[in-house]
């Protein structure tokens, strides 16, 4: 990359003459020049808030079959209309967001911790173990996520847990690989050698030196993976292989919408717009986080 191109991609924070601006200052500075970043943070805040507060802000019971109009367009009572059996789509969308966030948090949490552990083992362990693990990672990554998910559903049946398991297993290799590369690079770094010479144990080196160095990129990556997780959950639920009705999930709403697509477009619109907003929100937020915490990472995007 030439100097000109490098200058173009350099963040404001990096250009500042001040040595080591505080995290808050860096955050504000990066965000002030980054409209999409602000949009991302706002969208994510709204989505997370609505997921947490879902039981209190849904105007109706999302599973209640009402005697009112069926497949009605949006009205003052039903903001996104009603579905084929008269349920309030807006309430179902909000409740579906709670499920989506739950899956994302559980699956990414599991994948992050397992990926971290396996990556450290691969990076610090003996060579043969590393090779075997790489092979298994490559094999897991060669499955299409949905096809692998369907195979797992055949084995253990469809449920919320199955979705979480599928997403976790298919994401572990990605995180583990990054941790492994970082660990290997750090293993021979001079400050680690110095630490070892001073008699530091493995545990101290891992906790104090390796972990902080790998955690940042990992969390940024996880934030950008949220949309993928949510699309997988919605997709499997759409096929009837994920979250089971009557639990409202965006995928279940979309499936109802698909079955009655010739009667009303509103379930499809209601089920899909939040997926698109979540994707935009977490992608923008991830990009902004990357700029704030690690300008060097910008190139890999």
């Amino acid at each position: 990359m030439t100097d000109a191109a490098q200058n173009a991609t350099r963040t404001r924070a990096e250009d500042s003459p001040l040595p080591e601006p505080t995290l808050l200052a860096r955050t504000l500075r990066t965000l002030s020049g980054n409209r999409t970043g602000v949009i991302g943070f706002v969208l994510v805040a709204l989505i997370v808030a609505s997921a947490v507060l879902a039981p209190w802000i849904t105007p109706y019971d999302p599973a209640a079959i009402m005697t009112g109009p069926r497949m009605s367009p949006p009205t003052a009572e039903h903001w996104l209309g009603t579905d084929n059996i008269g349920r309030d789509i807006f309430s179902r969308v909000i409740a579906g967001g709670r499920i989506a966030m739950l899956v994302a948090a559980a699956a990414l949490g599991a994948a992050l911790s397992a990926g971290l552990a396996l990556g450290l083992i691969a990076g610090l362990g003996p060579r043969w173990l590393d090779n075997i693990m790489l092979l298994v990672f490559d094999a897991l990554r060669s499955f299409p996520v949905i096809v692998f998910g369907l195979a797992v559903v055949t084995i253990i049946g469809p449920s919320l847990f199955t979705v979480i398991l599928v997403v976790a297993i298919t994401s572990i290799p990605i995180y583990a690989r990054i941790v492994r590369t970082q660990t290997m690079a750090l293993r021979n770094a001079e400050f680690i050698l110095a630490e070892r010479a001073m008699g530091a144990g493995m545990a101290r080196i891992l906790l104090v030196h390796v972990l902080p160095n790998v955690l940042g990129p990992l969390l940024i990556l996880a934030s950008m993976d949220v949309p993928l997780v949510i699309a997988t959950e919605a997709g499997l639920s759409f096929l009837g292989m994920g979250v089971r009705p009557p639990t409202p999930s965006w995928g279940v709403i979309l499936n109802d919408g698909y079955n009655f697509i010739r009667n009303s477009p509103w379930p499809v619109i209601g089920g899909s717009v939040p997926i698109i907003l979540v994707t935009l929100g977490f992608t923008f937020m991830g990009e902004a986080l990357r700029d704030i915490f690690d300008p060097k990472l910008r190139k890999t995007g």
Binding site: A5, S142, F143, P144, A151, G235, I261, T279, T283
Partner: protein
């Protein structure tokens, strides 16, 4: 080059074998007898025993895996649980539909994506560049199955321009049935490819060899085509190679939504009837194709840029 290709081929075969072993192992780790799972809870003990022997489940696991791989080498993927037809025949009957769908999707989207990416890199900060940027982010944010639903809603239900069900009969009918599915799968890839080509074009454009070519007075068109684009498409080729897995995932939804035949639709119906041999066979074939595609894209990159061959 040949040595490199051979090395990569062996590794690919090993990866597919490991992938299939993982699935088979999962089936054994899960509590419960696979034979009972397939036959349902009301099967008689004799029937269960019979199925166990027929599926080779009575033998130890390593023997089972070896027999399974041996059978695969002979082209035998097992039998359909219900009809007894060979799985390989069922899978290969459906495979062409999916391959055509995927190839058409990727061809149109890669062509348009490279074109848009290259143009917006050459004409930075024009309206086309801005439009490409907005379109990329917008289309990437919409999963293929949502795109497919909107395609049905807009072009089939509201406008009534194109058919939304089945694969059609005959050539022209087949093409009119292919347009919406291929659009739904491909649209996000236009964005991906355009973004990555634009970024790598900008990077390559500043490299010394391009300045050199310009200093020699080569025509600008020729510099763009053979000195910039040839290097700049490499990340896109890698992306497309690894993206085949995503294409298969997208094909599952698109085949279900458009009620098209294909390997995705086959897997979904097999999962619904818990027809495990078909699921396993279909997963094996798709995984094989994906690993092959990754291999091909690596070889294409190595062919485009000899530097990549070293250090691998």
């Amino acid at each position: 080059m040949l040595y490199y290709a051979g090395q990569r081929l062996v590794l690919s075969v090993v990866i597919v074998m490991v992938a299939v072993s993982i699935l088979t192992l999962m089936m054994h780790v899960v509590p419960g007898d696979p034979a009972v799972m397939i036959l349902g809870p009301r099967a008689t003990p004799e029937l269960i025993e019979q199925t166990r022997v027929a599926m080779g489940l009575d033998k130890p696991l390593p023997i089972q895996l070896l027999t399974f791989f041996g059978n695969i080498l002979r082209g035998d993927l097992g039998q359909d649980v219900f009809t007894g037809r060979p799985v390989s025949r069922i899978v290969f009957e459906q495979l062409p539909y999916t391959l055509i769908l995927i190839s058409v999707s990727i061809l149109w989207s890669a062509a348009l994506g490279i074109l848009l990416g290259a143009y917006s890199a050459l004409r930075r900060n024009t309206w086309l560049d801005t439009l490409t940027g907005i379109l990329s982010v917008g289309t990437i944010s919409i999963p293929a199955f949502v795109m497919a639903l909107y395609a049905v809603l807009i072009f089939a239900v509201w406008l009534g321009w194109l058919p939304a069900i089945g694969a059609g009969r005959g050539f022209w009918d087949g093409i009119s049935h292919l347009i919406l599915p291929a659009f739904a799968i491909g649209v996000a890839w236009v964005g991906y490819v355009a973004r990555i080509v634009r970024a790598s074009m900008l990077e390559v454009m500043g490299e010394p060899h391009v300045r050199m070519a310009r200093a020699f007075g080569l025509p600008e068109r020729r510099i763009t085509r053979s000195h910039i684009l040839k290097i700049a498409v490499q990340p896109a080729v890698t992306l497309l190679g690894t993206g085949v897995a995503h294409l298969f995932s997208a094909a599952v939804f698109v085949e279900v939504i458009f009620a098209r035949p294909g390997i995705g639709a086959l897997i979904v119906s097999a999962v619904n009837e818990r027809n495990y041999p078909i699921v396993l066979g279909a997963v094996l074939v798709t995984t094989g194709i994906i690993v092959l595609a990754t291999l091909i894209s690596d070889l294409v990159v190595a062919w485009l840029d000899p530097r990549q061959r070293e250090g691998m």
